[in-house]
């Protein structure tokens, strides 16, 4: 009755590491080839950090798991080199609608402004996301995915982490400088090391059904509170790729999960919703309870980093699970690369906790609030919930209180020690710590996007405004920075008509607007596309100080960096400077 899709199988291959006299050593080993581990492995390879990714299984995700991938995740996938394939395969959506009983009470547009390359969300089954990430990883030299490799023991040492790995050919040992643990919510490695992830379980059960059918609902997120077809509970409908639809039915705490999974129970629920003559097939059915929890530290040992569900978990309302996990590795990988490459002190690694713990707390807070609204505890909470929904039908103020999930947005790392606080007055949202906003630009006469030119390594973005070139002093400051061997890639954004050169032309003015930029404005952007610092003009010492701070060093003005440090990655070409 339930017709699961056939996943690709990746065969186990014996590695030369299994035959060595001594355990093989790798700079980084990643445990778990879910979306998070795969993203980490790809990103490390792009940063020229050789790594091995171990997974106990030999295929991608099975069953109903993540479907909503957020704009920020797609931007990270773009940087990793597989964003377009995801978007092409996925179902793009921006609009959410909320119904109470028979009526629509509220709708929200998650991307109300134009001028972004990526939509607010795509819906794409987790198995496709993982498959495309696997394909991307396999196309890169610096990483190797080893299937049917189960980590069974971890010993953190002074100078390396020692692993024991079980395979169809028996166990072998390896060592690494740094271990990234992305082995999912149950995290065997977390247990092996004696760490906990603590929080709360929500006393409710949800039937999650993936259904194959031809239907013409628009590509929007539809959420019902107390609908006539599922009285007293909520229901969520999402369109996925290849005519698969995700339906979540809230069941309540007393439901029997085994009983509810039976097609004889599931099919009538779906018929009640879609109509008696609806034609569909079940692809997968499961019953979940959800929880919100996290580890106390995501770097509980100096050489061991936890990311994704292993580190923190949320309920799926808000799609903050995989989306936040991918932000973890986006945050971590450039730091590991900089430290391993000798471009930053080890102290930079402490900022992983400083930045990602507040982000996890923000996600847990949002997820908890949504879950409390969807599954009110007790009669009074339920009265407030229903009162909100009743008022929302007619009175605008109450719509903003309706909470069917606050959908994933990237965290602004506003309290980060890597940020250089503004010295000059700025407006807008691109505060230090913010993830960079996209904007349409033109390059060499063709359409392009600002984000395609940021990140991977430190990027200095110089805004020219309507000026044809930069003032002499700014040019000299840039020269001085370059002579000092500062590993920054330069990007110039102008509003003039020069369509031939290396300058990104901000024809619509949106880049200048979103960054509150005018001629001479200068942003220092981190490799993960977050703002490190910004000024109204370039000053060599200020930039050096900000860069030192952003790489975990104690910021002291005028500290020249070692010449010949080179760039973090060789993928990017520096733009030639417009003459002033």
């Amino acid at each position: 009755m339930v017709q699961a899709r056939e996943n690709p199988v990746y065969p186990y291959r014996r590695s030369p590491d299994q035959d060595g006299e001594q355990p093989a050593h790798h700079p980084v080993i990643v445990v778990g080839a879910g979306p998070i581990g795969l993203s980490a492995a790809i990103d490390l390879a792009l940063h020229d950090v050789d790594n091995v990714l171990l997974d106990e299984d030999d295929t991608v995700s099975i069953g109903s798991r993540a479907i909503c991938f957020a704009k920020r995740t797609l931007e990270i996938f773009d940087r990793l080199g597989c964003g377009q394939r995801m978007v092409d395969k996925g179902v793009t959506w921006n609009l959410g609608r909320v119904f109470f009983r028979e009526n629509e009470v509220y709708r929200f547009d998650l991307l109300p402004e134009a001028g972004h390359q990526r939509p607010a969300f795509i819906n794409l089954q987790q198995y496709f996301v993982e498959e495309y990430l696997v394909d991307r990883a396999r196309a890169l030299e610096g990483t190797e995915v080893r299937w049917k490799n189960r980590v069974t023991a971890v010993e953190p040492g002074e100078s390396a982490v020692h692993l024991t790995v079980e395979t169809p050919d028996g166990p072998y040992a390896m060592t690494c400088d740094y271990l990234i643990v992305a082995d999912g919510a149950r995290s065997p490695v977390r247990h092996m090391l004696g760490f906990k992830s603590e929080g709360q379980v929500f006393q409710d059960r949800f039937l999650i059904a993936d259904v194959v059918m031809k239907a013409d609902f628009p590509p929007e997120r539809w959420f019902w509170f107390d609908p006539p077809f599922h009285e007293g509970q909520s229901t969520l409908l999402h369109r996925q790729s290849e005519n698969v639809w995700r339906i979540d039915f809230q069941l309540g705490w007393d439901a029997d999960p085994e009983e509810e999974k039976r097609p004889e129970r599931v099919i009538p629920r779906i018929r009640a919703m879609l109509g008696e003559d609806a034609e569909f097939e079940l692809e997968w059915v499961s019953v979940y309870t959800f929880q919100c929890r996290r580890m106390e530290s995501f770097r509980p040992l100096p050489r061991v980093f936890f990311a994704g569900d292993a580190a923190h978990q949320v309920s799926p309302f808000g799609a903050r699970g995989a989306n936040s996990g991918i932000q973890d590795t986006d945050n971590l990988v450039w730091k590991l690369a900089a430290v391993l490459g000798g471009r930053a002190p080890e102290s930079l690694l402490a900022s992983y906790d400083a930045e990602r713990i507040p982000a996890a707390d923000e996600n847990i807070l949002n997820s908890t609030r949504s879950t409390d609204f969807i599954s009110p505890k007790g009669e009074v909470s339920r009265s407030f919930r229903d009162a909100t929904l009743m008022l929302a039908e007619r009175y605008p103020f109450a719509r903003r209180l309706v909470n069917s999930g606050r959908l994933s947005v990237p965290s602004v790392l506003s309290g980060s020690p890597l940020n250089t606080p503004d010295r000059d007055p700025f407006g807008g949202r691109m505060v230090p710590g913010a993830p960079c906003a996209d904007a349409p630009v033109r390059l060499a006469g063709g359409p392009d996007w600002l984000l395609n030119h940021l990140g991977g390594e430190f990027t200095g973005v110089y805004f020219l405004g309507a000026e044809p070139g930069m003032p002499k002093a700014d040019g000299e400051a840039l020269d001085a920075l370059e002579r000092g061997g500062i590993p920054i890639r330069w990007v110039f954004v102008g509003q003039g008509g020069d369509e031939g050169g290396q300058v990104l032309v901000d024809a619509e003015g949106l880049a200048h607007e979103r960054y509150d930029a005018r001629a001479g404005t200068f942003y220092l952007i981190r490799p993960d596309q977050h703002v490190a610092a910004r000024w109204r003009g370039v000053e060599r010492d200020a930039v050096v100080e900000a860069l030192t701070r952003a790489t975990g060093g104690v910021a002291v003005a005028s500290t020249p960096r070692r010449a010949g440090d080179g760039n973090a990655t060789s993928r990017h070409r520096a733009a030639s400077r417009p003459a002033g």
Binding site: S383, A387, T388, M390, A398, L401
Partner: protein, 79 residues
């Protein structure tokens, strides 16, 4: 409890009329219906007040003494 934001002096312009209207609002309703009407009223008035500092204080004052004379009247800490 000392309040900083919440006005605890009389502001109602016709107190007895207000009180009567409040009680009348529940006429003919069962408990569940009354709870719903109260909830709607609280939401409407909270929106009118707007200021979260005032609302938080009002919530703390509302809890005061309810759990018995010696119990904690403060709201649980903010997340």
């Amino acid at each position: 409890m000392e309040t900083q934001h919440l006005d605890i002096e009389l502001r109602l312009d016709r107190p007895d009329d207000f009180y009567e209207a409040l009680v009348d609002m529940h006429r003919g309703l069962d408990e569940a219906q009354s709870r719903l009407v109260n909830a709607k009223l609280i939401l409407l008035l909270s929106n009118q007040v707007g200021d979260l500092a005032v609302l938080r204080e009002a919530m703390a004052v509302a809890r005061e003494d309810v759990l018995g004379p010696d119990s904690e009247t403060e709201l649980p800490p903010q997340p």
